[in-house]
């Protein structure tokens, strides 16, 4: 299939120009185009019919990963291929690299961006769950010049829904400076290799001086209700050591019990719960290992 008629194509060189271009159209009529790895599918199947496409490829301010005392900042137009090999994200934010490295295939990773994935927030997607897991924040700017920053928990809503308004550009994802003993990990399962996740689990932990978990985040993607945190599991992990296999299993079990799962073509609800259990246990262990610097 082919996209419906598109009246105009714009390639702004700055965020400001992009916002101005969008402002010429009614809400939803002009769409930002990042890597196109979701938007092109949607346009070709005519799920969306933009009058204007605003291609962000030339906006330099949206690209790249930078680190400062305040933490790490990932431009919205940073591609999976870059995130997957980004040294600044190892350890504490390893979950993002894990997720990026297994999105679809090489060709998709050569174009798809973290910002596009977050703004699209598809039901079976990796980046939204991974970002919810590591607790990143989203920097947005609107046509009126208004800037706001939302934590992932506020930004990410149900499937195909976010807190972003149509006239806002997602500028970057920011990650706070992580304490020395922090680690995260992400893994998904799909029917074939690197397929869209049937379930994806991201876990972030911080360890105290004694090696016990002092802070934990546990997020799951692939749910009909959108990416969700398993707060019971997070609470259950506090004070537990990574070597305590029974405690890890119990926390994963808790996540599996507290989240609602659906049945569809790929898995029934019980199997999804089992995936949360098995991937959850594995990711708690891996995140803890990374936190311990192993």
């Amino acid at each position: 299939m082919y996209p419906a008629v598109i009246e105009d194509y714009q390639r702004p060189a700055s965020i400001d120009e992009a916002l101005k271009a969008a402002a010429r159209y009614d809400a939803g009529e002009a769409l930002f185009l990042a890597g196109g790895q979701s938007l092109m599918q949607a346009m070709k199947s005519r799920l969306v019919r933009p009058r204007c496409v605003i291609d962000l490829q030339a906006v330099k301010d949206l690209k790249g990963v930078s680190a400062s005392g305040a933490g790490v900042r990932i431009g919205a137009m940073t591609r999976y291929v870059e995130i997957a090999k980004e040294a600044k994200l190892k350890g504490a934010y390893g979950a993002l690299g894990d997720a990026a490295a297994h999105v679809g295939d090489r060709q998709v990773r050569n174009r798809g961006t973290i910002g596009g994935s977050l703004c699209w927030n598809y039901l079976a997607a990796c980046m939204p769950a991974a970002n919810l897991g590591v607790g990143s924040s989203m920097e947005l700017i609107s046509a009126s010049g208004k800037k706001r920053t939302l934590v992932a928990d506020e930004f990410i809503k149900g499937p195909l829904d976010t807190a972003r308004t149509d006239d806002e550009v997602l500028v970057a994802t920011t990650l706070p400076a992580a304490p020395s003993k922090a680690g995260s990990a992400y893994k998904k399962w799909g029917l074939v290799t690197d397929a869209l996740p049937v379930i994806g689990v991201a876990v972030y932990v911080e360890l105290d001086g004694g090696g016990a978990i002092s802070k934990a985040r546990f997020a799951v993607g692939g749910l009909a209700t959108g990416p969700k945190r398993a707060k019971g599991a997070e609470a259950a992990l506090i004070g537990k050591k990574a070597s305590d296999a029974a405690a890890i299993a119990a926390a994963a079990e808790k996540a599996s019990a507290e989240l609602e799962t659906q049945s569809d073509l790929w898995a029934d609800s019980a199997y999804r719960k089992n995936l949360i259990r098995s991937l959850g246990g594995e990711m708690i262990a891996l995140a803890s290992k990374r936190a311990a610097g192993q």
């Binding site: 399962w189 029917l191 074939v192 290799t193 690197d194 199997y271 098995s278």
Partner: protein
């Protein structure tokens, strides 16, 4: 003259001749062909599974600038003769549904074409298709084949009394009743009886290139039709009947390059009929290139069979009797040549597989439903029956307390030729030799020890086996009753004055490497180089009649015909040699064709170059032997007296994670009898590809219709194919027995090859999970379902 063609090229590794154009982007597939001024045709397809068509509103579509024509079923039903037509109707007693290329009166499956747009631009055609509005009155969806067979009140085809398209008893011949009574008697007294229902889901072998057609009309020449097709000669006859155009005014050409077929491009489909009709109406070239969505909605769906199988055996592990009640879901059945039911029909014929059954009672019923008609896919019809058979054999072995491998060896057919209980003829081969070769590759005893040790550590390893007797070509004996078509292979061999050889083949390959295989056989025959041979395929204007690229006909039938034609031409050349060189006491067998020369064996000083002799016979037809004429061209038809087979055995080893049901294939080993190998790489490629297709079908692919008949799997995101990272490398080994019925001893291979795969992999999984007593009886093999079975077994053990 040597009648045994020089063996140097036959069996040699030789890089494929097809490849250069394909790896440089110069292949010419259907979508790459162009005709000046060609219009684009797009089908509008039904959004409902079963509904009366109240109205189809096309005015908005027609009004769109760039749209040339919009047609619906009502517009064409008096202009095109409906199907069925005799040339694409089997000689089997069945109900053959009447249909046109576009739905008339009601729609019968989600995806049936209801209208067509012809426009100058393909983007505009897609815009217009969106503007067509159909009003429907929904009818109850018929989706369950067993219910469909029982329920006469709700019918797919209103003019039929019920939903039965085909039913048959395959055993006992005229004495079927007596036979069935005897089978009953054996079951009553047998030591060991296993009864089990096996279900194989709807899946198939969608090729990477979809279907398409590009046609033009000329008032004097008629129709020139490029079609993605495995059987151009049959398409030509069928188009002639449907459109009432004399066949001599139709030329069908299968593009030289086709992106896979695997059976999917073998039927005579509705879409090319309409393209042909509109091309003639508009007298302008028309192109239709199928989208993947259309493809996955309308074609490439196969398998979909249920088999209730019963096996009787003695306690020492000898098979005594087989009983089977098969049910197949054939969709709406509107599909020329196959009608959705030929696949389950042949599946039942091949159900007994390589086992020596004293007696059996095999019956099949095929239902029509509101789904797309089954269309052929490699392992034609037998993918489900092989799955059922290979699984039940393991279950019987287990009940007899035997190692399934030993049970197979004991019961495999030992003496060929053999006629199976369903009447299938196995011409030649040595099944035990193939089996023993497999067992030599896999250390079963060692594996059992490893398995035992692994289980103690909570790891679950399993080994599984499977066999397959497959058709090597389809003999007239089978093809005439089955498809009203001849089985012979035909080849025209033309030698040109500069000693290049052109081979013409009526069948149309789609990647099997015919250009190379036949070049090697012809090169060996004339003692020349394969690069001096070119092959023209699939053009009804230039090639001899052939029923199509089906049932592994190339290595068996087509190559044999080409070799026969070569032999005929060599005889003629030898007669000229004897005459020209005044060779005394020579027979034709005294000449050898080697290295570009023709040599008198008794005196090697007497020789001529192949090129010299060719030029002499073609260009200088004077002073000839008595009764001879000039020129070097011959068409030969090859047909073995009886059907032929090839044979294979598979072994898989797996490891399962019982916490998730996810499994890894540790190794896959095969043993093959492909007869005389012509090109080892091509044979190996066929086997690698076939096993992976089988795995992809068994593990990933599944067409799903929801409770309203909506097809949910019409794209590659939802219809999942195995990727490179999902499958193992296959270790292919050989234990050949040359076929005594073909000139080279070759066998046709590849078509049936995936069929032993689902049983083999399932047996390996069941073997791994033996401590849980798990039997897999349904495909696909999804971790989800395996995990559920483990859960159920654990629960049962705990209770």
């Amino acid at each position: 003259m040597s009648t045994k063609p020089g063996a140097n090229w036959v069996g040699a590794k030789f890089n494929r001749k097809e490849d250069h154009r394909l790896i440089t982007g110069k292949g010419r597939y259907l979508a790459d062909l162009s005709m000046p001024g060609a219009l684009h045709l797009v089908f509008v397809r039904s959004e409902q599974a079963h509904a009366k068509i109240k109205k189809i509103e096309v005015s908005a579509a027609k009004a769109l600038p760039g749209v040339v024509m919009v047609v619906t079923g009502e517009d064409i039903k008096t202009k095109i003769k409906p199907m069925p037509q005799p040339v694409v109707q089997p000689a089997l007693a069945a109900n053959y549904p009447k249909h046109w290329p576009l739905a008339v009166g009601k729609v019968k499956f989600h995806g049936e074409p209801i209208a067509a747009i012809v426009a100058r631009d393909k983007y505009v055609a897609a815009d217009a298709a969106e503007l067509v509005r159909a009003e429907y009155e929904p009818l109850p969806y018929i989706g369950d084949p067993e219910k469909a067979l029982a329920d006469k009140s709700n019918r797919v085809h209103d003019e039929w009394p019920d939903n039965v398209i085909f039913q048959m008893t395959f055993t006992g011949g005229a004495e079927a009743e007596k036979n069935d009574a005897e089978v009953d008697r054996i079951f009553k007294s047998a030591d060991v009886v296993v009864r089990q229902r096996f279900k194989t889901h709807r899946c198939g072998v969608t090729p990477m290139e979809t279907r398409g057609a590009l046609m033009s009309w000329d008032d004097s020449d008629g129709l020139t039709a490029y079609i993605t097709t495995q059987r151009p000669h049959i398409d030509r006859l069928a188009l002639s009947d449907i459109l009432e155009i004399p066949a001599e005014k139709i030329r069908v050409i299968a593009p030289r390059d086709q992106g896979g077929g695997f059976g999917v491009k073998a039927p005579f489909y509705r879409e090319p009929m309409l393209v042909a009709y509109l091309t003639r109406e508009l007298k302008r070239p028309i192109r239709w290139v199928e989208s993947r969505q259309e493809h996955l909605m309308a074609v490439s769906q196969e398998r979909d069979q249920i088999h209730d199988i019963e096996v009787a055996a003695s306690k020492d592990g000898k098979l005594l009797a087989l009983r089977n009640r098969g049910v197949a879901d054939c969709g709406d059945g509107c599909e020329g040549v196959y009608w959705g039911f030929l696949m389950p029909f042949l599946g039942c014929v091949e159900l007994p597989n390589a086992y020596d059954w004293p007696i059996g009672d095999v019956k099949l019923k095929v239902a029509v439903t509101n789904k797309s008609a089954l269309s052929p896919a490699r392992a034609f019809g037998e993918f489900p029956t092989r799955f059922a058979m290979e699984r039940v054999i393991d279950m019987v072995a287990k009940k007899c307390g035997m190692e399934p491998a030993d049970f197979r060896r004991k019961n495999v057919v030992k003496h060929l030729p053999h006629t199976s209980i369903t009447g299938e003829y196995f011409d030649s081969g040595d099944f035990v030799k193939v089996w023993d070769n497999l067992m030599n590759q896999v250390d079963l005893k060692g594996f059992r020890r490893e398995q035992e040790a692994a289980r103690k550590q909570g790891r679950y390893l399993g080994i599984g086996f499977g066999l397959g007797v497959e058709l090597s070509g389809v003999a007239s004996e089978l093809l005439v009753p089955m498809e009203s078509q001849p089985g012979y292979g035909a080849a025209t061999v033309r030698i040109d004055p500069r000693a290049k050889v052109i081979v013409f083949e009526g069948d149309a390959p789609q990647g099997q490497g015919h250009e190379t295989t036949v070049a090697q056989a012809v090169a060996a025959s004339f003692g020349i180089h394969p690069n001096d041979i070119v092959v023209t395929t699939g053009d009804t204007g230039t090639t001899p009649f052939g029923s199509g690229t089906i049932g592994a006909r190339a290595g068996s039938y087509f190559v044999s015909a080409a070799v026969m034609a070569c032999t005929e031409l060599k005889r003629k050349i030898a007669r000229f040699m004897i005459h020209d060189l005044k060779v005394e006491n020579a027979t034709m067998d005294d000449f050898e064709f080697a290295d570009g020369d023709i040599v008198f064996k008794k005196n090697s000083n007497i020789k001529k170059s192949f090129r010299e002799m060719v030029e002499r016979i073609i260009m200088a037809p004077i002073n000839m032997p008595a009764g001879e004429s000039g020129g070097l061209e011959h068409t030969a038809f090859f047909e073995a007296a009886k059907p032929m087979i090839c044979f294979n055995a598979d072994c898989a080893k797996v490891e399962i994670d019982i916490n998730t049901g996810q499994f890894k294939i540790l190794s896959w080993t095969t043993s093959e009898d492909v007869g005389q190998i012509i090109n080892p790489q091509i044979v190996e490629g066929q086997m690698q590809g076939a096993v992976v297709q089988g795995l992809s079908n068994a593990m990933f692919e599944q067409f799903v219709y929801d409770e309203n008949g909506q097809q949910l799997t019409a794209d590659f995101e939802n219809y999942k194919l195995a990727t490179a990272a999902d499958v193992p490398e296959i270790k292919v080994t050989h234990a050949p027995t040359p076929c005594p019925h073909t000139p080279l001893g070759s066998r046709g291979i590849g078509e049936g090859r995936p069929s032993s795969v689902p049983g083999t992999i399932s047996n390996a999984i069941c073997d791994a999970l033996a401590p849980f007593g798990i039997e897999i009886t349904e495909l696909p093999l999804r971790p989800n379902q395996i995990w559920q079975k483990i859960q159920a077994a654990k629960k049962k053990a705990a209770d």
